[in-house]
Subunit: 507 residues, 2 copies
């Protein structure tokens, strides 16, 4: 509302025209950077301050950050750097006492102390990092905030303005249900109740039930979340039910992965369900901690593929290139719910491998037969139907698309082979070489970025055989609030398009 976008919230017909996150295209004046992941604002603003200094300009630089975002390492790094500026630099901390769920970590004890002492506590995280400090008890009161900002404006030393705010102030249901209102489906304005409620199973509720069962079965099982327990259905009730078998490391994926590694090394069984888009923050920990160390643990990767979140900053397209570029991580892609939990069981009951599992989002599928229970023969693909001329390798939740392609090819008189690779982190070279005897074209489908992904691996392995190879997946492009069906068409991912290309390749 402060940035001229109130109309979009007040006029229902305009609501979908704006995004949920900052967007320089939408508001060049106020949205200096894209920001959907938390925590980098201070570091970005530090960069602006360096440019201001080199260009000998003079204006106020303000970094805005929520209390929840302060737990991310890059926020500390930014504070550490900007704290040395002998120049104007204002950090506004919007302390509403919430991350997505509740906050975690000892920093939040210090913020509470500061609130309880009206900013006077002897321990002050921000002062220990060299900042001047102003506390505003009534952070929802415009006049109080304006007064504080007037004091901070034009100061030539880094300063933190710590606002004590109330999340959802003025709307009782949002004040009462702060976690639920972080991200809500349409609700009744009168009482805040969701307009539609579903009791149907889905991958999230199934994951929740599985985790709760496993926690009961094994008192040495630890569930880790990095501030997003709701993505696996853990609301307050479920978290409490797990007691000390559940730990939220706050918005801190690097520490999520390191904690997983450390706890596995310490002999616990560990499951760390994490959103693909946020896992990006832990690339180095995935390689240097988890993959290198003897720390078998299980990482269900949520929110991947074309039908997950469609916001530019939350795309789940890049996980296969990211995770599978690292040695020693087994990345499994289940094709249905039974296979998913069979893979979870196997991963949990073995002590040799580090296992990530790509939780489907494309559609909720049940297995048509018995699923395998042993995945220790790494990179062994499963031939679901033997045919000839064309082999369709359809990974994870695009397996259903593979089935449809094979059915459509059958209508054209082609008896194609259908393969569930199960593993996207490696290649079944033996199988691929054997295909050469009576296949001319290999078609690979994956619900993720095509470049650097699973299809590239297959194309490399097929490249020497003389068979053609067609790979299908998402383009390496930024897209924002797209329509999944339209994107499938644009990327030639519909069944008729794939069939057309395959027939052309056979010619």
């Amino acid at each position: 509302m402060l940035t001229g976008r109130a109309q979009y919230y007040l006029d229902k017909s305009k609501f979908t025209e704006i995004g949920e996150f900052t967007d320089p295209n939408e508001s060049p004046e106020y949205d200096i950077f894209y920001a959907g992941h938390t925590s980098p604002s201070i570091s970005l603003a530090f960069g602006l301050a360096k440019a201001r200094s080199l260009k000998k300009e003079d204006f106020n630089i303000v970094a805005f950050i929520g209390d929840g975002s302060l737990s991310g390492g890059v926020a500390f790094e930014g504070l550490n750097n900007a704290g040395k500026l002998n120049d104007n630099f204002i950090v506004i901390v919007n302390d509403n006492q919430m991350a997505i769920a509740e906050n975690h970590g000892s920093l939040y004890d210090n913020l509470r102390e500061l609130r309880e002492t009206n900013g006077q506590s002897e321990h002050n995280y921000f002062k220990s990092l060299g900042y001047d400090y102003i506390y505003v008890a009534e952070g929802n009161d415009l006049e109080s905030v304006i007064n504080a900002l007037k004091k901070a404006k034009d100061t030539k030393n880094p300063i933190v303005v710590h606002l004590n705010t109330q999340k959802g102030e003025g709307y009782a249901p949002a004040e009462a249900h702060r976690e639920e209102f972080h991200f809500s489906a349409p609700y009744d304005v009168a009482d805040g109740e969701p307009l539609q409620q579903s009791n149907e199973s889905n991958y999230i509720t199934d994951t929740r039930d599985y985790l709760l069962r496993k926690v009961k079965e094994n008192p040495e099982l630890l569930i880790i979340s990095s501030a997003t327990p709701e993505v696996f259905g853990f609301m307050e009730k479920e978290r409490k039910a797990c007691g000390n078998q559940y730990v939220d490391v706050a918005i801190a994926e690097q520490t999520g992965v390191s904690t997983m590694t450390g706890a596995a090394r310490g002999g616990a069984k560990v499951i760390y369900p994490v959103m693909a888009t946020f896992l990006q923050r832990a690339y180095d920990q995935l390689e240097q901690d988890w993959a290198m160390d003897n720390s078998p643990a299980v990482m269900p990767v949520m929110g991947t593929g074309i039908r997950a979140l469609t916001d530019l900053t939350h795309l789940g397209f890049w996980d296969i290139p990211m995770i599978t570029s690292i040695p020693e991580i087994v990345y499994l892609a289940p094709t249905n719910v039974e296979e998913y939990f069979a893979m979870m069981d196997w991963a949990l009951n073995q002590n040799e491998h580090k296992v990530a599992i790509r939780v489907p989002t494309y559609s909720y599928e049940h297995s048509k037969g018995e699923v395998d229970t042993d995945y220790s023969d790494l990179n062994k693909f499963k031939v679901v139907k033997e045919g000839k001329d064309v082999a369709v390798i359809a990974a994870g939740d695009f397996f259903v698309k593979g089935e449809s392609v094979v059915d459509a090819l059958a209508e054209k008189g082609i008896n194609a082979t259908l393969i569930n690779p199960r593993f996207v982190s490696g290649v079944d070279t033996e199988l691929l070489n054997s295909l050469r005897q009576n296949h001319k074209v290999v078609v690979v489908l994956e619900d993720g970025s095509k470049e650097g992904g699973f299809g590239g691996r297959i194309a490399q392995a097929v490249g020497a055989t003389g068979m053609k190879c067609l790979t299908y997946g998402l383009e390496k492009k930024f897209v924002d609030r797209y329509n999944p069906e339209e994107l499938e068409k644009a990327y030639r991912l519909t069944v008729p398009q794939i069939v057309e290309d395959t027939l052309n390749a056979l010619k």
Copy 2:
């Protein structure tokens, strides 16, 4: 020496048997984790503490961290989490007042205050995060340390033991030249002087000279380092020469990338030379900050490929898969020194693209002719020699290998095409399609991990054409202190092996 490895340092013949970093294979008792990158020790130990609690065990957990490593975000995240443990947790901070170069950030003012007040300063970063705190003024004095650890042992609240130490104590040259002794070639024990000194140009000295020249030419150019200025030849003298046009953001690659983004957005020209292995910590910032935002800047990537650092934890193999999985980052791979700086010039003088440049390590090469100065036609490969039957696409510092392969093929009567792709982040589809007219085999060479890399992209593009495609690069495997020549043989990367495979593919 405390962990039973003194003999390896005292006996010259045994010195190469041990590594420079912790290694559980080398010392299962003392090296609990592999650790070569800094900063995750507290988070890893936090994981151990969670396992200890679930297993109802009772022992002391000690996380060891240097002052320099405290600047990395994950160290803060670990402190934030472990600070809430109502249990034994000891953090030993070895404060020798050095990172690799000097420390940067306001945290270090607080550490200095703590040293100067014998631990009594009113501001205390660790106490603000809920830790008990012991200061040891004589951190090199064994008895003082033992006394402090006796106090910390078995405490049931997280505690920081802050040791004030002297880097290199007892060896005058190391005390005097603390930065040079972080990583040293063999030296004369009497005076610490290097046994061999070279005045020959190399990519590091050339980069240094280029940066110093550019800084002088443009007062709005900013050079960023994340604590490793020596990898581009910036010792104290060069850093001082740059004044406020140089900023070291400490061991904090996330903030390195965000600062680059922010400063570019603020209108400065920015160059951020960074080690490939450490850049892994900034994957999310590369995508969410740099790639998405309108922030043209230049990132020379150092230490890549088979002839860079050979330690497991410092391998430079993974940069191509990592960087090129992200949209909007142009990754250039120069084949010689003139092309490198032509690419740097182009990248610096344009305002449209975010450009990373893969600095060669394989060999120091000069151009045989004029190099191109304009790279704005993205993903346009350069045909260096037109031939037929076989096309060799040799990227970056493996271009020399491509030349040798083409020469060796000529001896077998094959007139191969030779291509310098220049870009490893995209594919020249038009060129690849045109090759199909008179080529049967495409051979791709890259000095980096094969899976998810440049070769995979080419194989995908070639897959539909009917040509065969052979891709060469490093296996997706962890290797440690390897011999580069032997690894080339093992991975079939020698010229005779590549020629043999190519001839087989032509059959």
